[in-house]
């Protein structure tokens, strides 16, 4: 092949081997537009070429799973003919260069994934990772990302009900921005992203097409951003939440009227992805007329129209006889709609300009026959030394009282009120538990007693020290979180955020994380319905910590039985689960010793499962007054959060015969603090014994003070000042308090 040609496919991010496969498939050299289509569809972001072989090992089936991975979003059966659609996606790369718009368009994208299944988006959650707030750039990134998520989510009337914010130096150059969206639909009204039915019409609905993110997926999300690299920058786009809101209402009206054969969002790889994926799924093809695509800019080339990632667009597959009705609904909502093509039977995606065929490519080869790599894997050399350096038996540098205040004021533990007060968590009127309200957010399904519980979890320190356990812990904590409010864990979505997969240590960590996630999901009975892989989260030689983030979905059959974390006076305090000497990789170790090292706390998934069923049963029998699980900061932080939530103090003894700082700050898994009324103590303890869950009675609730055995004590008010003041102080550029 000619040099010019060679540089073209390489410039588009395709390897020589990939280009040869394309030639073989087409039986000729691809033209520029065709190369651009392949480059987008075979990019890491769209083709999962490095991750597929591992993702395939994940458990994806279950009696209540209606739709697993492979569609825009997973679908779970909630019973009574109700379906829940949910999916998580990453928008880290654009957010790193334009936090407001990068995060905003991330919300828009995941909302359209849920919408394209025919579901009304009812909730958003946003797991975020940033570098230390002592650096002004990280403050700029965090403020911008939060503002962007707020602006977009608030404007479209979808409540943001949960998420997480964690901090680590490794996320400074590369913040992690994941967004999860949840939607509801009647089970019989689900729409698929399928271009069924020869002769059916393809209607493009929503915003006009501009030169947005040309090569976005291949450049921005599938390669490492060189610090200050300008070439990737035009790939950032401006979100239009107003048009998105109109899209939501118009598409749902179309679905309710039964006017759609198929519906697909335009995301990564734009029109090319939407057309080839929906045709491939249906085993059909499509003829599209690029002259019919409304353009925002003059003189756009075929390849630009085909791969543009302009936001707020949906592709509807419509029966000819319904076309007028469909266009009328769009017009009612003030949305542009254009007939851009037809479904064909020959399996080809054919694009025309002035009636001339400019591209002719098999839909399947674009969507399904992407390359698949088994990349080299190798654990990093430093791992063992890091594991050896276990803080568990190091002398405590400060006394427990001081350590506690530092933990409570550390950005990972401190209240995230500064963040979620910028989100509308109330709109739609079904938020039973919003951000900061409990271990999981709880959304009522209107007109029923049912509710879904939602939690996102991921622990970067664990991921760094042991990606397998890190991912397993994320699943376990997610399941524990929804069980704490009384819900039954059903399924997960996830975002796997990693560095450059071409590096063996990154690929090893990825494989370990997938293995750990799969194992935990199998044992806890929560299949993986979907998710997203975000690679190349590194710049120069600095990669993010392996960051698997899990989005857990649970169901509550009667929300009147939901359990909150807050203490009230006059109850008995119990600790469910066992506390071991496990300070490796803990918040305590990082905050007091400045160390992220040692062995990650162990995880016994059988025990976890027992604890989870106990929590559900306890809530069903109305035996617990409050429940809150132990995670970052251990038992001490958990007790404090219960006190703060209920504005009620407590007096407890410390569990086991462990040194005070270990008993207080160990992050042993599978532990939950519950409070129980004295009358119910007998029945409760009997139930716990039935489930063979180890437990101890720690003390009682009441009074203005929090008394941690003879280790230390302080008032709830003092704790509140530290817990709530920390983040705002840091974001104002002041040093951490506490």
């Amino acid at each position: 092949m000619t040099l010019a040609k060679q540089s073209l496919h390489r410039a588009l991010g395709l390897t020589d081997e990939e280009e040869e496969r394309i030639q073989a498939t087409l039986g000729r050299a691809p033209n520029h537009a065709e190369l651009a289509m392949y480059a987008a569809m075979w990019s890491e972001h769209c083709s999962y070429k490095s991750s597929k072989v591992h993702l395939r090992t994940l458990p994806t089936a279950g009696p209540h799973i209606l739709v697993g991975p492979g569609e825009d979003a997973g679908v779970v059966d909630l019973g009574d003919g109700l379906a829940c659609v949910f999916k998580m996606e990453s928008h880290s790369h654009p957010s790193a260069i334009e936090p407001v718009q990068g995060a905003a368009t991330g919300v828009g994208g995941i909302v359209r994934d849920v919408l394209s299944m025919g579901a009304r988006p009812v909730a958003l959650l946003d797991p975020l990772r940033f570098g230390p707030l002592e650096e002004s750039r990280n403050r700029w990134l965090m403020s911008g990302v939060v503002a962007g998520i707020g602006q977009y989510g608030n404007s479209i009337g979808v409540p943001t009900v949960g998420g997480e914010v964690k901090f680590a130096p490794a996320h400074g150059p590369n913040p992690t921005v994941n967004v999860m969206c949840v939607g509801f639909a009647p089970g019989d009204r689900l729409v698929r992203a399928r271009a069924e039915g020869q002769g059916n019409i393809l209607v493009l609905v929503g915003a006009a097409t501009g030169r947005d993110g040309i090569g976005g997926v291949s450049v921005l999300a599938s390669r490492t951003l060189e610090a200050g690299s300008d070439d990737a920058r035009p790939s950032v786009q401006i979100g239009d939440p107003f048009v998105e809101k109109l899209l939501i209402e118009a598409c749902l009206e179309l679905v309710e009227a039964g006017l759609l054969v198929g519906l697909q969002d335009l995301g990564g790889a734009g029109l090319t992805c939407a057309v080839s994926e929906s045709a491939a799924r249906a085993g059909t093809g499509a003829d599209i007329d690029l002259d019919a695509v409304p353009l925002r800019e003059p003189r756009m080339e075929a390849f630009e129209i085909l791969t543009s990632e302009s936001q707020e667009r949906m592709l509807a597959v419509v029966r000819p006889e319904d076309l007028d009705a469909v266009r009328a609904v769009c017009a009612k909502w003030g949305l542009a709609s254009s007939t851009i093509g037809r479904v064909t039977g020959d399996g080809k995606v054919r694009a025309k300009v002035d009636g001339r065929v400019v591209t002719e490519v098999p839909a399947r080869s674009l969507a399904d026959d992407g390359p698949e790599y088994r990349r080299r894997m190798e654990p990093p050399a430093w791992l063992d030394d890091l594991a050896e350096d276990d803080p568990t038996f190091a002398d405590p540098p400060v006394d427990p009282g001081q350590a506690f205040l530092r933990l409570l004021g550390s950005p990972n533990v401190a209240s995230k009120g500064w963040v979620w007060e910028q989100y509308d968590s109330l709109v739609q009127g079904n938020t039973l538990v919003g951000p900061g309200g409990a271990d999981a957010a709880v959304i009522r399904i209107e007109g029923t007693l049912k509710a879904v519980a939602l939690a996102t979890d991921g622990n970067g320190r664990y991921g760094r020290l042991d990606p397998y356990l890190g991912a397993a812990h994320a699943v376990a904590e997610g399941a524990r979180n929804v069980a704490c409010v009384g819900a039954r864990p059903l399924a997960i979505t996830n975002c796997l955020n990693f560095g450059n997969p071409e590096r063996p240590d990154v690929m090893w960590a990825f494989a370990e994380a997938v293995r750990g996630m799969g194992e935990a999901c199998r044992q806890l009975g929560t299949p993986v319905t979907g998710g997203n892989v975000s690679f190349y989260n590194e710049s120069g030689d600095s990669a993010i910590w392996p960051t698997p983030v899990v989005g857990m979905l649970g169901v509550l059959d009667d929300y009147r039985l939901l359990v909150r974390p807050g203490f009230a006076p006059g109850f008995l305090v119990y600790l469910l689960g066992e506390t071991f000497a496990e300070l490796g990789g803990t918040e305590y170790s990082e905050v007091t010793l400045g160390k992220v090292s040692g062995r990650v706390p162990g995880l016994d998934l059988e025990r976890e499962a027992g604890l989870i069923s106990l929590l559900q049963e306890a809530s069903r029998r109305d035996l617990v007054a409050s429940a809150h699980d132990c995670s970052d900061g251990g038992l001490a932080v958990t007790l404090a959060e219960c006190a703060l939530a209920g504005d009620t103090g407590f007096a407890v003894g410390l569990p086991g015969d462990l040194p005070a700082h270990v008993a207080l700050f160990s992050e042993s898994a599978s532990r939950v603090v519950v409070s129980v009324s004295p009358e119910k103590a007998g029945a409760f303890e009997a139930l716990v014994a039935e489930h063979r869950v180890p437990f101890g009675r720690l003390g009682e609730t009441g009074g203005p003070r929090m008394v941690f055995g003879d280790a230390f004590e302080l008032t709830v008010a003092e704790a509140r000042e530290v817990h709530q003041g920390a983040l705002p102080r840091l974001l104002r550029g002041e040093r951490a308090g506490g």
């Binding site: 007060e421 739609q428 009522r444």
Partner: protein, 236 residues
């Protein structure tokens, strides 16, 4: 009485809390009447609510475009007839833009969007939405807005106060006015205002999100009770 009071809720492109307002009316015993921004009449509604949201994206200025919607002529007529009009959040902004209420709402003092429960003190019972309350009553209701700072030029502000056009003020749970109880920097802590006649009221807090014990505080109940009973008095 002959029938349930009919309360219209207008849906503009970008309205978000229209369904919530309709639900609240139903929960509180009224007859919810959805009305489209392109409609020219209010479907025999006894009262009309302009709901919260981001009409037309609120891009240029909140409520700037919505004030010109066809349905607004019907709203003006309804107001001119002395019948109740309530603007909530974006609805308040639209009523100010439309000149049906004094003052205006600009970016919060802290610039950021604020979603939180606040307390407001009732300043007058002389409106359809406070008729069942007495001045000094304190209600707990959530706010959620980025542009809720009530402002007016000094002379206009003075007039608003002199004529008793303030309906709600942000306050402490005990009813006192402290600056830290003022979530957006509103002049004189103003959270809600009325026209001189008293039949048109705008408020930034969301009473429709404060009527359901499962969901939140109940400060919105007396507001809808007042509205519905004043309508009953009217439609009887």
């Amino acid at each position: 009485m002959s029938r349930k009071p009919r309360v219209a809720v207008i849906t503009f492109p970008g309205s978000n809390d229209d369904r919530d307002a309709l639900r609240a009316i139903r929960l509180m015993g009224g007859e919810p009447v959805p009305v489209w921004h392109g409609d020219r009449e209010l479907r025999e509604a006894d009262a009309v609510i302009l709901p919260g949201g981001f009409s037309y994206g609120d891009y240029l200025r909140t409520g700037a475009i919505a004030q010109f919607a066809p349905v607004m002529d019907a709203v003006r007529e309804h107001a001119a007839g002395g019948r109740p009009v309530l603007g909530i959040c974006n609805g308040f902004q639209i009523l100010c833009e439309a000149g049906l209420l004094p003052g205006a709402l600009i970016r919060n003092r802290g610039l950021a969007f604020v979603c939180r429960r606040v307390h407001v003190r009732v300043e007058t019972a002389l409106t359809p939405v406070t008729s069942g309350l007495v001045a000094g009553d304190v209600l707990e209701i959530p706010i959620k807005h980025g542009e809720g700072q009530f402002v007016a030029e000094p002379d206009i502000l003075a007039r608003i106060e002199d004529q008793g056009l303030v309906v709600f003020r942000y306050c402490s749970p005990g009813g006192d006015l402290h600056d830290d109880g003022n979530p957006n920097g509103s002049a004189n802590h103003i959270a809600g205002a009325r026209n001189e006649r008293g039949n048109v009221v705008g408020m930034m807090p969301h009473p429709e999100h404060a009527v359901d014990a499962d969901i939140g505080p109940l400060g919105g109940q007396p507001i809808f009770e007042s509205l519905l009973s004043s309508l009953l008095a009217g439609v009887r």
